[in-house]
């Protein structure tokens, strides 16, 4: 069995009877166990997975299988799953069991996917290295002295190491794209509103989006197809119909042949060191495939990081106020008063990065600072979005680096929060604008993967995925895998 098989390959194997779903799941569970030093999973749900696999096998026998029946997947530990702990990488939710499933979880389960377990992440999705997890850092399978990226580090590393063919993640400022790039896998953040946020612990409500990691664009398309769609439980969920996306598991993903115009933002390429050559090579691939390249400008790019940290911090500071030790989650021992209960539960429960973000956000919203910070950031957000909208009048897609460089070493940036924030410099702008974006592996530097980012107009997932298919038709970076157990 090819451990780096795609969903398509696995589905074929299951249909043809090469193996049962139970055998398949056993295989992946064994791989997870063998690679436990990578610490990609917080919870492995062995019994539940085998039960679900058995049900899937029965569905095959009845002839009722769909595109995801019996296929293993992993959920970032930020999605609520009934019966299995949802920790968000935090002591605050250690052993917390949600009484409901996130909409994303529910839809994928309904489609027959088998949940292997919950993957490691930076606490409450705050981080770019997966070093902020209460359950220990996750490691990069290409080089275990390096970070897998974050906050969805566990999911990215698990897919890269062949521990699961696909895994869900969330992306607020780059938390899918950046780890995808560091781990040499594909990862997509859809348009804001495309996928329901119900049951996904909130970090920054106007930025958070659920997405998926996989080896190739086809897998991203199939899983995204099931995950997306209007949800009446989420007021920010878009009700825009997309028949292509709904039907892509049937129709299959076809490489784009329209000869698109692709823009390269000058602001993103100016200080690029590592990977500059690889990005240029990727651009050339598109040109060879009939696309037209052109330089564009996104003049307010420098505003992105400050605006993001204010907006995300502000929203996070209030979203995390519910973790107060009163009716669920961690409570300190022997609280002497209500105030003591709040302060000690939260201080003992949260890690340092979460505290920094909460305090930053509290500062931005506090009396006297609101206009200068929160409101100012919202205005810059408008300008950043306008940059993209103007650019998309000239080009069909934007090609950019995903990260400033390759995966850095564990511990390199933990003392310097601002330097850590700079890791997201290329991913944050698309998040602020609510645009769909993905990262694909496009080469290696010193044996470590480099990712390229494609950004499209709102609701242009089809164009993004078909263009990715085009790239992967002509290259084989996505078929390179690390040496793992």
């Amino acid at each position: 069995m090819n451990e780096f098989a795609t969903i398509g390959e696995l589905a074929r194997g299951l249909r043809q009877g090469d193996y049962s779903s139970v055998e398949l799941i056993r295989h992946y569970l064994a791989r997870i166990e063998a690679n436990s030093t990578l610490n990609t999973f917080i919870t492995v749900a062995e019994d539940e997975a085998l039960n679900a696999a058995a049900s899937a096998d029965q569905a095959f026998e009845r002839g009722e299988a769909g595109p995801l029946t019996g296929i293993p997947l992993a959920h970032k530990d930020i999605f609520c799953t009934q019966g299995i702990a949802t920790t968000c990488g935090s002591r605050i939710l250690e052993n917390w069991i949600a009484p409901y499933d996130a909409t994303v979880v529910d839809r994928l389960a309904h489609a027959g996917a088998v949940l292997l377990g919950k993957t490691n992440m930076d606490e409450f999705a705050m981080g770019s290295s997966n070093e902020n997890s209460y359950f220990g850092a996750a490691l990069n399978p290409w080089d275990s002295s390096r970070v897998p990226g974050g906050s969805s580090g566990g999911s990215a590393a698990a897919v890269a190491a062949g521990l699961t063919p696909v895994a869900t993640g969330t992306d607020t400022g780059g938390s899918i794209r950046q780890p995808a790039a560091f781990c040499g896998v594909a990862g997509i953040k859809p348009t804001y509103g495309r996928v329901s946020r119900y049951g996904m612990a909130a970090f920054a409500s106007s930025l958070d989006q659920a997405g998926v990691f996989g080896h190739d664009a086809q897998d991203l398309a199939v899983v995204l197809s099931i995950m997306s769609g209007f949800d009446p439980r989420d007021s920010t969920s878009s009700d825009r119909a997309d028949s292509w996306l709904t039907g892509v598991s049937e129709s299959g993903l076809k490489p784009n042949d329209e000869g698109l115009t692709i823009g390269l933002p000058s602001e993103y390429f100016k200080d690029l060191n590592e990977g500059a050559t690889l990005l240029q090579a990727a651009a050339k691939e598109f040109e060879n495939a009939g696309c037209r390249l052109t330089q564009i400008s996104l003049p307010h790019t420098d505003a992105a990081i400050p605006a993001y940290y204010i907006i995300a911090g502000a929203e996070a500071s209030t979203n995390l106020a519910r973790y107060d030790g009163v009716h669920f989650g961690y409570r300190c021992e022997n609280p002497k008063s209500l105030e003591d209960l709040y302060q000690r539960s939260r201080s003992e429960g949260f890690g340092i990065e979460v505290k920094r973000r909460i305090l930053t956000g509290t500062y931005a919203l506090s009396v006297g600072y609101f206009d200068a910070y929160y409101l100012k950031a919202q205005k810059l957000r408008r300008l950043i979005q306008q940059d993209f909208l103007s650019a998309f009048e000239e080009v069909d897609l934007i090609l950019a680096p995903t990260t400033p460089g390759v995966a850095f070493h564990t511990g390199d940036l933990t003392d310097d929060p601002v330097a850590m924030y700079q890791q997201d410099i290329f991913t944050i702008p698309a998040s602020l604008a609510g645009l769909p974006a993905l990262s694909l592996p496009c080469g290696f530097t010193g044996g470590l993967p480099i990712g390229m980012q494609l950004i499209g107009p709102h609701f242009s997932e089809r164009r993004l995925l078909e263009t990715s298919a085009l790239y992967q038709q002509n290259t084989d970076w996505h078929q390179r895998h690390p040496e793992v157990a």
């Binding site: 999605f79 609520c80 949802t86 968000c88 939710l93 917390w96 949600a98 009484p99 409901y100 996130a102 946020r197 119900y198 049951g199 996904m200 612990a201 909130a202 920054a204 409500s205 106007s206 009446p232 439980r233 989420d234 007021s235 920010t236 502000a314 929203e315 209030t318 106020a321 519910r322 107060d324 009163v326 009716h327 669920f328 209500l338 105030e339 709040y342 509290t362 919203l365 506090s366 009396v367 609101f370 929160y374």
Partner: protein, 483 residues
């Protein structure tokens, strides 16, 4: 030194929707603790709010009823503070873009004076849960059932000038929301709660004095007493040369005093900002027009109609229109009775007393309106006397039958046959010659004796008016003929 009180009220109205404002749980009062708190109400990880259409419609109805601006664009904000009855650590409210803008409410005092009270705004927000402080040693118990109940917060300008005006305003608001059927008005259950902002200033001054806020007053009587106490307290401070400190107070009804609250929220900085889980609420002109078309007749218009068209006194009209259930019953009775004054008397008198005695609501009145109407009609057409009508009413109350059935079954038909009555009168006169002589000698009071005798002889069924007329005639005739 003459002092003028300046009072503004913030009234929280619980909207009578079937489900909560942001979740599909029930907001009904009185459930087992936390049995109506769903994951959205509990603020569990990943839950999200979705706005209840009916809460919006009710808010718009209210705004139209007070002639307020309805804002076609309004925003929900997060009001951030920590308290155990607030599970998310913030309350979803509306800060600087409320759904309803400035309007007015006219109040009428007992002496007939009217005042137009300006309402600054009304906005939608979610209610918090409840804390039970006394049941558990050293601990407070939190019930989150009430969390998420829709509230309409109605804020008045500081236009009220006395505790009596404040009560009149609160009562008028109470009547209005029940007329609009947007709130059940059950004060005991907390369906309406009032915060009073009270300050005093020298009479004639234009600047406002420092105010204190009395929170969570939930009865008309306490509104009046709490504000009265607070005014006196502030005057005492100012007259002895002190300064009133702005603070938040609670009214203690047992001691009839207000007390400073230990600071409930651990800071005053609520850090309001637009809730990113909710989008702006946009109302179309068509929607607003449709709500406007559905407005019922408002209490003041109804009262005016009762005085001008039905010619009822101001007092009666006010009494009858205060509660829409009473006014509806009245008009239903009137439709059969065709006598506004008599109908008013019966409702304000016998019917009201019976409901009170049996602890019933107007909506549970056992006498159908048409039957009470019929009873009044039978009084007016002389079928039955007013006195015996009370007996019929009691029989109607216990559902003995219809008015006519009861009258016939019990033989209560008024005796109005003058021939028969004359016969009875003549016999009584013959049997009581002394009283006849006394009457003819000028003792007019003796008439009452004869009336009594006639009533006794007819088991109370004689038509009193006729009896009087015939008696006078018989007694005087003899008198006259002697001259």
């Amino acid at each position: 030194m003459q002092w003028e009180p300046v009072i503004g009220l913030e009234v929280h109205v619980q909207l009578a929707t079937k489900s909560k404002i942001f979740s599909g749980a029930s907001p009904a009062f009185g459930g087992a603790p936390n049995a109506q708190a769903c994951p959205v109400d509990l603020g569990l990880p990943g839950v999200l709010p979705v706005l209840n259409a009916e809460a919006v419609r009710m808010a718009v109805m209210f705004g139209l009823a007070i002639n307020a601006t309805i804002y076609p664009y309004s925003i929900f904000d997060r009001k951030n503070y920590f308290y155990p009855d607030l599970p998310k650590g913030y309350q979803i409210s509306q800060f600087d873009h409320p759904i309803v803008g400035p309007g007015t409410l006219t109040i009428q005092m007992e002496n007939g004076d009217t005042h137009i009270i300006r309402i600054t705004r009304a906005h939608l927000e979610e209610d918090a849960g409840k804390s039970l402080h006394t049941a558990y040693a050293g601990m407070t118990g939190i019930d989150l059932n009430r969390t998420g109940t829709p509230l309409l917060e109605v804020v008045s300008e500081p236009d009220l000038r006395s505790p009596a005006q404040a009560v009149a305003y609160f009562k008028q608001l109470h009547a209005l929301v029940r007329y609009l059927k947007i709130c059940d008005g059950n004060l005991a259950e907390g369906s309406m709660r009032c915060d009073a902002n009270v300050s005093v200033r020298p009479l004639g001054a234009t600047e406002l004095g420092e105010r204190s806020e009395i929170k969570n007053i939930n009865s008309f009587r306490f509104v009046e007493k709490a504000i009265q106490f607070e005014i006196e307290r502030q005057i005492d401070i100012l007259e002895s040369g002190g300064k009133v400190k702005r603070d938040t107070r609670l009214y203690d009804s047992e001691r009839n005093e207000t007390r400073s609250m230990r600071s409930k929220e651990l800071s005053d900085d609520y850090r309001y900002f637009p809730d990113p889980d909710l989008l702006p609420v946009r109302l179309t002109l068509e929607f607003i027009a449709a709500v406007k078309a559905s407005l019922p007749e408002l209490p003041q218009a109804r009262k005016a109609r009762f005085t001008t068209e039905l010619k009822l006194s101001d007092y009666d009209a006010a009494w009858l229109t205060n509660d829409p259930a009473v006014a509806d019953y009245f008009e239903a009775v009137l439709a059969t009775a065709h006598d506004a004054k008599l109908t008013a008397n019966w409702i304000m008198g016998d019917a009201s007393a019976a409901l009170h005695r049996d602890d019933l609501e107007w909506t549970d009145c056992p006498v159908p309106a048409t039957e009470l109407g019929q009873l009044i009609a039978r009084i007016n057409d002389n079928t039955i006397s007013s006195k015996l009508a009370k007996t019929v009413f009691e029989a109607l109350w216990t559902k003995e039958g219809t008015v006519d059935e009861i009258i016939d079954a019990r033989g209560l038909r008024q005796l109005s046959d003058s021939g028969a009555l004359r016969g009875i009168i003549e016999k009584i006169m013959m049997d009581n010659p002394d009283q006849v002589a006394q009457y003819r000698a000028g003792k007019d009071r003796v008439l009452g004796f004869f009336v009594g005798q006639v009533m006794k002889a007819t088991q109370g069924k004689a038509n009193p008016g006729q009896v009087n007329e015939l008696l006078l005639d018989s007694l005087k005739r003899e008198k006259g003929s002697e001259e």
